[in-house]
């Protein structure tokens, strides 16, 4: 399994993330803009014209993006500690932001299920938050779920109780399995691809560890930063680091955790990926060094 990657946007001055196909174009985020620029932004690559345009300014550290089945765009505004909704008129709105009565942490990645509930990872981010911060972080780092995003006072449920550094997440097509990347930067922490059964009562069952990433005397082997599913339900994941270990690459895991293939990106470390184009057959990959790649040639494609 391999893709032929072509650089279609960038290189920009800072890491890219949040690739999200909007039906006709590929949205992605530039998280850290240079000083005096317009404070982070969302860009949009249009494969029909090959052009990349600014989609939204002043997004202030929005990491993951997700589009709901009804066409609503959401983003994880990391250091503002909230999931926000981007409306077509240019406005942006904060979602419910308290779990167990407290402000949640810094959201990283998200997905919207068919009931329009927002599942998101809520790690403790390495970047300092917008100051002054009046609320301490919650004493855990979990997958959380906003039950009714249209309601500003929606309950936010804590879904995982065994995560310490949740990063990427995605749902299987039948929404009966939640895939989570636990991606600790600590040597003693875990870096695992996990599959949690979504139970009928909408809680999560005990997870299966599909893959794990280790460490050595040089340091940790970075785990999965971003992932999506292909048409066959396989997990396409961006993992690995340049410093040591197997190296940065795209992995394709079967739902059971078998490695079906790996693929290198031409430059940098892949940060996140999403399928796009009319047939959802093209894999878009963002990188740590500000590049957006468009990968074609592999047979598998996304279901959503």
């Amino acid at each position: 399994m391999s893709w032929e990657f072509k650089l279609v946007a960038g290189p920009y001055e800072s890491p890219l993330d949040g690739p999200c196909w909007d039906g006709q174009g590929l949205l992605f985020t530039q998280v850290m803009m240079p000083a005096a620029a317009r404070e982070n932004r969302i860009l949009r690559y249009d494969p029909a014209t090959g052009e990349t345009t600014d989609f939204r300014y002043y997004t202030h550290r929005v990491m993951g993006l997700a589009l709901s089945s009804t066409g609503t765009l959401y983003g994880c505004q990391s250091t503002s500690r909230r999931v926000i909704r981007f409306d077509a008129d240019g406005s942006a709105w904060p979602m419910a932001h308290k779990v167990d009565g407290e402000y949640h942490n810094e959201p990283r990645d998200l997905i919207v299920d068919r009931k329009q509930r927002i599942w998101f990872s809520d790690p403790h981010a390495p970047l300092p938050g917008s100051r002054p911060q009046f609320a301490s972080r919650v004493p855990y780092a979990s997958i959380l779920r906003i039950e009714a995003p249209a309601n500003r006072d929606s309950p936010v449920q804590r879904m995982t109780f065994d995560t310490n550094a949740p990063s990427a997440l995605t749902l299987s097509k039948d929404e009966k399995t939640l895939y989570v990347s636990e991606n600790s930067t600590q040597p003693e922490g875990k870096r695992e691809l996990r599959a949690y059964p979504v139970r009928a009562d909408a809680t999560l069952g005990v997870c299966s560890v599909l893959a794990s990433f280790g460490s050595d005397a040089q340091g940790i082997h970075p785990g999965i930063r971003g992932m999506c599913l292909d048409r066959n339900g396989n997990i396409v994941a961006c993992a690995g680091g340049s410093e040591n270990g197997p190296g940065p690459m795209i992995y394709v895991f079967s739902p059971k955790g078998r490695v079906l293939g790996t693929c290198l990106v031409p430059h940098g470390e892949p940060t996140n990926c999403a399928f796009g184009d009319a047939d959802l057959g093209t894999l878009y990959v963002t990188t740590s060094d500000g590049r957006l790649y468009r990968g074609q040639g592999a047979t598998a494609a996304a279901h959503r």
Partner: protein, 297 residues
């Protein structure tokens, strides 16, 4: 000792043995503190608690309004009404005597304001306010639209008759507190991020000119330029590291009053206008000074 002199002249303003007492506590982030001279009460905002409170000597504290759009700075106009920098509501508004509210400004040239932070009313009823954007980014400060639209953080003058806004300062960095000199010939504007106060000449048409650096308030203690007011002698008092600093009209820092909590704003009050009330994170404190503030309205 809570008073700390940098220059001996500070002891003309504050007694060495000055002490501080607690007025009211139990808030999240108090701001916008003002003394209503006619009605003889203290008013302040709790930005995150999302309310406006009132304290009457001998009576105590009561809720004046809440929720209140996460209000920040306030001022009292000549009619005795509270005008409010709507930090979370992204506007400038006025609380009327009957308890209703009047929105005075929401946009500049059709573009939504950032997060109005602090506000003063000149004796001709024109309203001056700062509009930094950091309120948009803080969790819990906003319930509505959190998109930033303006490419700058401005300082504005609102014309009392037409309610038209004039952009006075466009290139500012995080403008925060502002106040006039007693004769209204000067306007002081501070920047929390830069840790300094700039001063401008006020022109007859109400616009300002001749920006120059007035003072830098530098230190390792928590706090920085935020709330700012002149005393009757024209000394500029401004929150800074460790509490509230006094700066003489030439820009020399004279000393500071150390406040037990991070202080965002303050006001003079009481019948002789010599009690300074401090708005900190959780608590309102008071201390009696030798120098008086300018009564309002």
């Amino acid at each position: 000792m809570i008073a700390e002199a940098f220059q001996p002249a500070f002891w003309d303003l504050v007694a060495k043995e000055v002490s501080i007492s607690r007025v009211s506590t139990g808030y999240v982030f108090t701001e916008g503190i003002m003394w209503h001279s006619q009605k003889r009460y203290l008013v302040w905002t709790d930005i995150i608690g999302d309310k406006i409170l009132k304290w009457t000597p001998g009576v105590g504290t009561s809720l004046l309004m809440g929720p209140a759009g996460h209000p920040d700075g306030t001022f009292i106009d000549r009619q005795g009404r509270l005008v409010v920098a709507g930090w979370g509501s992204r506007n400038v508004w006025r609380l009327e005597d009957d308890g209703s509210t009047t929105v005075l400004a929401t946009h500049f040239e059709g573009v939504k304001l950032n997060t109005p932070n602090d506000i003063v009313v000149k004796s001709d009823d024109s309203i001056y306010f700062t509009d930094p954007s950091n309120g948009i980014r803080h969790p819990g400060h906003q319930d509505g639209d959190i998109q930033k639209y303006l490419d700058y953080e401005g300082v504005y003058r609102l014309d009392p008759a037409t309610r038209k806004l004039t952009l006075l300062v466009k290139g500012g960095v995080n403008p925060n507190g502002l106040c006039f000199s007693p004769d209204e010939s000067l306007l002081y504007i501070n920047s929390q991020r830069l840790g300094c106060i700039h001063v401008y000449d006020v022109k007859p048409d109400g616009t300002i000119a001749n920006e120059r650096l007035f003072a830098e308030l530098v230190g390792t203690d928590p706090g920085g330029p935020d709330g700012m007011k002149c005393d009757v002698h024209g000394n500029v008092w401004c929150t800074g590291p460790g509490g509230v600093w006094a700066v003489d009209p030439k820009g020399n820092a004279l000393g500071r009053i150390r406040v037990p909590e991070h202080t965002a704003n303050f006001t003079w009050g009481g019948d002789d206008m010599k009690t300074m009330f401090f708005a900190t994170r959780k608590t309102i404190y008071a201390a009696t000074l030798n120098t008086a503030g300018i009564p309002l309205p």
